[in-house]
């Protein structure tokens, strides 16, 4: 071995963890890095940069890494040696050589070609420019719209087939989904509708009392609940509750290849999974809307009781201002909302990709796009009713 300068100094050590490095320059234009102790991921954090710097600073000297005092060297230690061995290709250092590594560790080092590890063979893709990003997003929206149109077509066809051949519908699944999406949602729908009735009545009764017009609060509660708030709030609740559940169920089935299994068995996933859910939503959403109408009015009546309006007067006032067309205006909307909620939930579920976050993303997209569509369609209904003078 090259004689080492007696003035060799320890440049990095970590006695507790047992790794150390000493650097010495010999007269024959050689720099010797003496590694000692236990080289593992916990002990070499300080030694590694020091060794790297020592090799970089070697200039035109040859570098010898003397590993004769290395007692243990695991994958991290081997990583450090590989890093030093590849330095001549990265920095302007001359040759680097590892000597006296124990055979069991040398066998681990020999597994790697330092030159092959200089370049990352699979670097992260460069960031796209703003224009490209916008283009990608627009293309994605276009693709999504096309898929939605195709899905509406497929679902309509499957629903038409279900109506023509009701015996082919999986009614057991429909009733089970009705229970989960409908009956189980009663408490939350009741709570929200009741509070809506209470809040609207209370917030409007206080200012109207100043004009002695609190009796008209019954008109306000009746019209707003039946025409607008009961169907819309029920639909939004169902979008958050059942729409997300549909997306998560179908998304998980997609990830577990259950939908692929249906397809390869020659069974139409839309008939098996989508039609049942859309039918269940069609049965349950109007019923829940009726329930919300009633509970909202009860909330309003209870509040008005505290303002001195008796129940009979409240009911009579509601009857005098709210007619059947107002009720039907809200009730008809609930059927359309039902198709939207179930359809969007199922579509997002079927669009699920792979990966741990995919099902969560599907549920999120189902809720977000479901609510956006509900509000848009509600606006369309408002215009139509205005034009029809309903």
């Amino acid at each position: 071995m090259t004689p080492v300068d007696p003035t060799a100094h320890v440049v990095a050590s970590r006695p507790a963890a047992g790794a150390s490095l000493a650097v010495a320059d010999s007269p024959d234009n050689t720099r010797v890095l003496s590694l000692a102790g236990h080289l593992d991921a916990y002990s070499i954090a300080h030694v590694w940069p020091a060794a790297r710097n020592a090799v970089k600073a070697a200039g035109d000297r040859n570098v010898i890494v003397d590993a004769s005092a290395v007692e243990y060297c695991d994958g991290a230690g081997i990583g450090m040696l590989v890093d030093l061995l590849r330095m001549p290709r990265i920095a302007s250092t001359r040759a680097v050589e590892v000597r006296h590594l124990r055979p069991e560790f040398q066998a681990l080092l020999d597994q790697f070609d330092p030159d092959a590890l200089i370049e990352d063979h699979d670097p992260a893709p460069p960031r796209q420019g703003v224009v490209v990003e916008i283009g990608i997003h627009v293309a994605r929206i276009g693709r999504d719209l096309r898929e939605q149109v195709a899905f509406i077509g497929e679902t309509s066809t499957a629903l038409g087939n279900a109506l023509r051949h009701p015996a082919r519908v999986r009614w057991a699944d429909v009733w089970m989904i009705c229970e989960r999406a409908g009956a189980d949602a009663l408490p939350i729908v009741a709570l929200i509708a009741f509070l809506m009735g209470v809040i609207i009545a209370f917030e409007s009764a206080v200012p109207m009392k100043r004009f002695g017009a609190e009796i008209f609060v019954a008109d306000l509660v009746g019209l707003s609940m039946l025409r607008e708030l009961a169907p819309l709030m029920t639909a939004i609740l169902l979008a958050g509750r059942s729409g997300a559940a549909f997306a998560a169920e179908l998304g998980t089935m997609r990830v577990n290849q259950e939908i692929d299994a249906l397809t390869t068995m020659g069974l139409d996933p839309v008939r098996f999974l989508v039609v049942t859910r859309v039918l269940a939503a069609l049965f349950m959403t109007p019923l829940l809307t009726l329930f919300a109408d009633l509970v909202g009015l009860v909330g309003g009546a209870l509040t008005m009781q505290t303002f001195g309006i008796p129940y009979v007067t409240f009911v009579h006032e509601v009857e005098s201002i709210v007619d059947f067309s107002d009720f039907m205006a809200g009730f008809i909307k609930s059927f359309v909302f039902a198709v939207l909620i179930a359809g969007v939930g199922c579509l997002r579920g079927l669009q699920t990709t792979t990966g741990a976050s995919a099902v969560g993303n599907a549920a999120t997209r189902a809720v977000v796009s479901g609510i956006i569509l509900l509000v848009i369609v509600d606006g369309v209904f408002a215009v139509i009713y205005y034009m029809l003078d309903v």
Binding site: Y42, H46, I78, V82, L117, H121, D122, G355, S357
Partner: protein, 265 residues
């Protein structure tokens, strides 16, 4: 266990372990030791409790009775920093890979290094790439798990399990789903690490070729007897065992009643 075993040689001790789920006992009164640097394979039929035993050994499930000691420490009764110290000694490759889907392969392997060491980013990246290189995935470091095949995910999971060079590696069915060449390379890697670094391997496997190639010792579990029905060198068990299930397993024979059905088919 032989008389020459010392306390230092034994890295895992399973004592009177009874394990199962929801009061349903799958394994009863299990006792065995795993020695340092040993490639120890757990065998058994489907539903025999192999994965349950593995989960008990790595502390994911609390034993119904008995205990599992890792270098003398019982994980069930150890908490906080002490438990993290024990966990640093273990690397686990799950059957499904269990890679984090939002991270690239490089980031998956780098995660334990980031959390447990003070190495700089370049050093961590190089070590992670070397681990992926060992399992033949150097060209896929920037890929997400969803973008590679199931076999590749499994190999990446092995790389992640090795990130900290733990002293004990638990591999749940490492060869399943791998092509024969990759499987043989993996066997060679296991042997190299066990022989050179004295890393202990606890492997659940069904692959007989792989078992003969790497196992120093096996135990075989049986669901009907809820325990270990054979223990020792797999080649010796294959040639000398008189237990019908052990013979069927190693010789890939049908059970007697199935043989009759097959003969009449």
């Amino acid at each position: 266990m032989t008389e020459s075993d010392t306390a230092d040689d034994i890295v895992i001790r399973v004592e009177d372990l009874t394990a199962g789920y929801d009061g349903n006992v799958l394994l009863q009164d299990i006792n065995f030791d795993v020695r340092r640097g040993e490639v120890f394979v757990i065998l058994g039929g489907s539903g025999g409790g192999k994965s349950t035993l593995l989960k008990n050994m790595i502390g994911l499930i609390e034993p119904m009775t008995g205990r599992v000691l890792i270098e003398g420490d019982d994980m069930v009764t150890t908490f906080g920093a002490a438990r993290r110290r024990i966990l640093c000694k273990l690397g686990v490759m799950y059957q499904s890979g269990a890679l984090f889907g939002s991270m690239t392969l490089l980031e998956n392997v780098r995660l334990p290094l980031e959390e447990y060491t003070d190495l700089d980013r370049d050093a961590m990246d190089l070590i992670s790439r070397m681990k992926l290189d060992l399992v033949g995935l150097e060209a896929f470091t920037g890929h997400l798990p969803a973008e590679i095949s199931g076999g590749m995910q499994k190999r990446a999971a092995i790389a992640r399990a090795m990130a900290l060079d733990p002293m004990i590696l638990f591999l749940d069915e490492p060869s399943a789903g791998l092509d024969p060449i990759t499987s043989a390379e993996l066997d060679a890697l296991v042997l190299r690490l066990a022989r050179n670094l004295r890393i202990t391997f606890v492997i659940v496997s069904h692959e007989l070729a792989s078992i003969y190639a790497i196992a120093d010792r096996v135990i075989m579990l049986d669901k009907r007897r809820k325990g270990i029905i054979a223990e020792g060198d797999p080649r010796v068990l294959r040639d000398t065992s008189t237990d019908p299930f052990v013979r069927q397993f190693f010789h890939r024979e049908l059970p007697v009643h199935d043989r009759h059905s097959a003969a009449h088919a």
